[in-house]
Amino acid sequence: MSASCYIPENLTEALEIRKKVHAIPLAGGTDLMVQAKRGIGINPVFPAPIMIITNLEELKGIRVEEDGTLVIGALTTSAEIASDERVFYHIRKAASLMGAVSLRNSATIGGNIANASPKGDLPQPLILLDAEVVLSSIDGERSMKVDDFITGAKKTALKDDEIIKEIRVRPVKATHLFYHKIGTRRANAISKLSLSILADVEDGIVKDFRASSGAAGNKVKRDRNVEMILIGKHIEELPSLVEEFTSAWDGILSPHAMPKYRRESTRRMLSYFLERIAAGAEPGIIE
């Protein structure tokens, strides 16, 4: 028999249930319902109490605060994110390439983060952008970087009385953007590998440089120390740094399957991006 199931009417009620019985929040169900499936005509069974929060309006929607911070409610779907021009390129792109139409209509950003699958589509660009996750409990709120929140494959820092409330992304200055997902096929695909890159180039100087690799280890891989190899350098120096940078990046990846392919294609994409910048590519999206 399934453990108990709750359908809270509002956030406060949800937080109370969460505090009292530690019920697992079920948002879009696209991960949890698959994990708990038992077959045709059989109700899914969960190891713990469940609370269905799909319809909690307080956790839905996207807004931009005065300082430009983008706030995405935890129950905002991938379809909504993908179609909102205010959302930063990498996140929007990743959301638009997640599964297919129907999945994007159900899957939520909060669920995608909480599931913490190394192949998850949204944590990768969120970590690139130093996004923060706001966690609510009946006793208050706290926030932390998504990168710190996801501690490993299927592991997070979520406490058993907390719910993901929203995701906050402060504006990030960037001139050159790159996003690529290699899926199992051209649509409706699970990620074999994904890579986001951004660079902020001003007067030929790389002011900021970031990259993040999805499906390349137990969690999204990003390393500020490696990024520092390029920061502050003139774009003319980039060609001579490609080898050092890509090797250092390779060092942070730990793919358990198809390691050679994942490493080499990441290296080639990074090199390509740097070559384009070195060649004076116009600001914008590097295709």
């Binding site: 690529h180 199992t184 080499e264 390509y272």
Partner: protein, 713 residues
């Protein structure tokens, strides 16, 4: 309403009910007091069963095993052989082998009974791959044998090979491998058993209702007519529902004999992926002798991974061997085929039925020879085309005009093949590839005459006519094509011709719906029935039944595999253009052009749909459809990890249908269902090789395997 003519554009008879969601598939049937069933299966590839302990059965629940087969029954599913056991007993030979069947009212309870049943095994070393089987890993699988060769045959044409190789100025030896392929018919396997009077009745998603009947009756020692099989609307099959429904029906029948209530067994997708038949993986070794730019001889050694039971493997292997020279007249050939027993789920029929594996290998081999000769692969292949009267590998002859040159001209022009072939060269990141293929229509050799003896019947009542045949609609459009044939001959509107799903207690046995034989053979029978009915139209209500008649003058010896293996082939030519992302190895297919010669299209729209579907399955087979088996377990178990093409993966196809009316088919038609799968994979891989500038020897080729190919080359 006007009389239907063969070239009329008509609607499929099943389109509206399916699109409206009204068509009833087996899972849509619910009977009063119906129970459900769930299988207990082996989790070991090879082991002795030491003991089975299941939880105490709640009231109304049953556990059915081999012990429930009565004394006058045998624990065997009678397919082509009788080796496939209904229930494993004493030992298991592959992961997923049926051990028992839990039956009861609640699926949740059944699921927990299965999960809480402990089967204790004495595990033995398993042989899983072809190489394992060649090495007889873990000892012979087959009883009373000292190797794992389940079936074998050879064919020779022309001179002794040693002799031929002495003449060669160049030789090329290559090994090609193809993987498992899963059918992924969107409707999973399912069946319901019940009783009517003193008969057992099945409602089942199946290609061959008469196969099911023959396969299971012996379990209870029943005469065949005490088992009635009613085919339900079948949501795709592709060979996966040719013999495999027997594996559901057998245990259900034994259960029914104890329980006497309707019992429903529907596989969920995971079960259907992990525990169903697959396409035979292959390893094909060609060694060729080339002299003065011509291929003068080829020796082929062909291995197919058959799994633990025979099912259709010997026939699949024969087809593989008989198609191993492709569409080419190679003057000297020696081919040997080995069907290897392994501890994997038995491999079985899948669109193409053994031909795609060898056709892939010969096409790649021919391209590789051409490259070494510095000739465009298309030109080299064209120079070797077999012609009408040309000798086949079984020392038979091609009966029809071979129109491959015209067909290739059509698609070469449409695709601008020669310009692109020159411009893209080898290793530019862009490639255009070509392949040629064929498929022998209907059963091999004298199978139609000696084994099947198909019957078909037309029944007239008033101004309406009913088609009574055992052939099934599974999506391929046969219910429409056959009605069109009958209506045209009878000069009546197609709406006045009915063709219900077969019920074995009503219709005659028309043979299996397989082997691209339905239009060619059963269509011909119905044409003959209709011709007679037309003459006697004013006699009131009556029936006309006909039996298959083999044309004279086409000898076949089933002992030596010599003679005319097929009385007609479908022919195909394909071109694929693609480019590869050098950073990620992702392949973007830019164009697909095919031409198929199928005698005559009974219904062009249906043929168009068959071409599109077969081609995309073949492209999936070559590119993304990867099914691995580790220690006897399939690694891909869902539709998210075994991926098949979506609407976004391949572009709109150009298709051309080459008319070449066939003397023995209705309105000149031949078979086509399998042909359209048989060769586009090779055109894709040819194009890919040219794009990356490296030769590859195995499919499928997802990006990570392309990385490996680049690395190893």
């Amino acid at each position: 309403m006007a009389a239907t003519r063969i070239d009329d554009k008509i609607r499929r008879s099943d389109a509206l009910s399916k699109a409206r969601g009204e068509a009833k598939y087996v899972s849509d049937y619910f009977f009063d007091g119906m129970l459900y069933a769930m299988m207990l299966r082996s989790t070991e590839a090879r082991a002795d069963i030491v003991g089975i302990t299941h939880p105490v059965l709640p009231e109304g629940y049953y556990f059915i095993t081999a012990d429930d087969i009565p004394e006058n029954g045998v624990n065997s599913l009678h397919m082509i052989g009788k080796d496939w056991r209904c229930f494993a007993s004493g030992d298991v030979k592959y992961v997923g082998e049926t051990i028992g069947l839990f039956v009861g009212p609640s699926r949740a309870v059944l699921k927990s009974l299965v999960e809480n049943t402990k089967v204790e095994y004495a595990v033995k070393e398993a042989a899983v791959s072809i190489d394992d089987a060649i090495a007889v890993k873990g000892g012979a699988i087959l009883p009373e044998k000292d190797n794992d060769v389940m079936c074998q045959l050879y064919c020779q044409k022309g001179r002794e090979m040693d002799d031929v190789f002495k003449d060669a100025d160049m030789t090329l030896s290559e090994t090609f491998e193809t993987g498992f392929q899963e059918h992924v018919h969107l409707e999973t396997n399912g069946a319901i058993v019940t009783e009517e009077g003193d008969s057992y009745v099945f409602y089942i998603s199946a290609q061959c209702p008469f196969y099911v009947r023959k396969s299971v009756a012996g379990l209870l020692g029943l005469p065949l007519d005490k088992v009635i099989v009613r085919q339900t609307v079948t949501g795709g099959a592709f060979g996966g529902k040719e013999h495999f429904p027997d594996v559901l029906a057998g245990p259900l029948l034994v259960a029914e004999s104890k329980i006497h209530k309707p019992i429903k067994l529907i596989f969920d997708r995971e079960e259907d992926m992990e525990f169903s038949v697959k396409r035979h993986p292959s390893k094909v070794i060609y060694k060729s002798a080339i002299k003065d730019g011509k291929l003068i001889g080829t020796k082929g050694t062909i291995y197919y991974n058959c799994g633990a039971y025979l099912s259709a493997s010997y026939v699949v292997l024969q087809r593989g061997v008989f198609h191993a020279n492709g569409v080419y007249d190679i003057p000297n050939t020696y081919l040997e085929g080995y069907g290897m027993a392994t501890n994997t789920f038995p491999s079985d029929a899948f669109r193409g039925f053994g031909a795609p594996q060898t056709l892939f290998a010969i096409e790649m081999h021919m391209s590789h020879i051409a490259r070494r000769l510095g000739i465009d692969p298309a030109d080299f292949k064209k120079s070797m085309f077999i012609k009408k009267g040309g000798e086949t590998v079984t020392n038979g002859h091609v009966v029809e005009e071979v129109m491959l040159n015209d067909m290739f001209d059509n698609i070469a022009k449409e695709s601008d093949y020669y310009r692109k072939s020159r411009e893209y060269g080898y290793g530019s990141g862009r490639g255009i590839g070509v392949s040629f293929y064929n498929h022998g229509g209907a059963f091999t050799g004298n199978g139609e005459q000696a084994i099947i003896k198909a019957h078909a019947r037309l029944k007239k009542s008033g101004e309406k006519v009913t088609i009574e045949v055992g052939s099934t609609e599974m999506g391929q459009g046969f219910q429409t094509s056959l009605r069109k044939i009958a209506a045209t001959v009878l000069e009546i509107p197609i709406e006045d011709v009915d063709y219900p799903n077969p019920d074995t207690s009503i219709v005659p046995d028309s043979g299996p719906t397989a082997a691209s034989r339905s239009t060619m053979v059963v269509g011909k029978l119905i044409e003959r029935c209709a011709i007679e009915m037309k003459e006697r139209w004013n006699e009131g209500d009556f029936s006309v039944e006909k039996e298959y008649e083999h044309p004279e003058g086409f000898p076949w010896d089933q002992e030596t595999f010599r003679g005319d293996a097929y009385l007609g082939y479908g022919w195909g030519a394909a071109i694929v253009e693609l480019e590869i992302d050098r950073r990620t190895n992702e392949v973007l297919v830019k164009g697909v052009w095919t031409s198929h010669e199928i005698g005559k299209a009974i219904d062009e729209l249906i043929v168009h749909g068959q071409i599109n579907g077969g081609v995309i399955q073949s492209l999936g087979y070559a590119s993304m459809e990867k099914m691995e088996n580790k220690n006897g377990h399939f690694k891909q178990t869902s539709m998210s990890d075994y991926v098949i093409p979506t609407s976004m993966d391949f572009p709109k196809q150009y298709y051309h249908i080459q008319e070449n009316p066939y003397q023995f088919g209705p309105f000149g038609a031949k078979g086509m269902g399998e042909l359209v799968f048989n060769g586009v994979d090779a055109a894709y891989v040819d194009a890919l090789e040219r794009a990356i500038g490296k030769e590859v020897y195995k499919i499928p080729l997802p990006p990570e395997d392309i990385e490996e190919a680049l690395e190893n080359a």
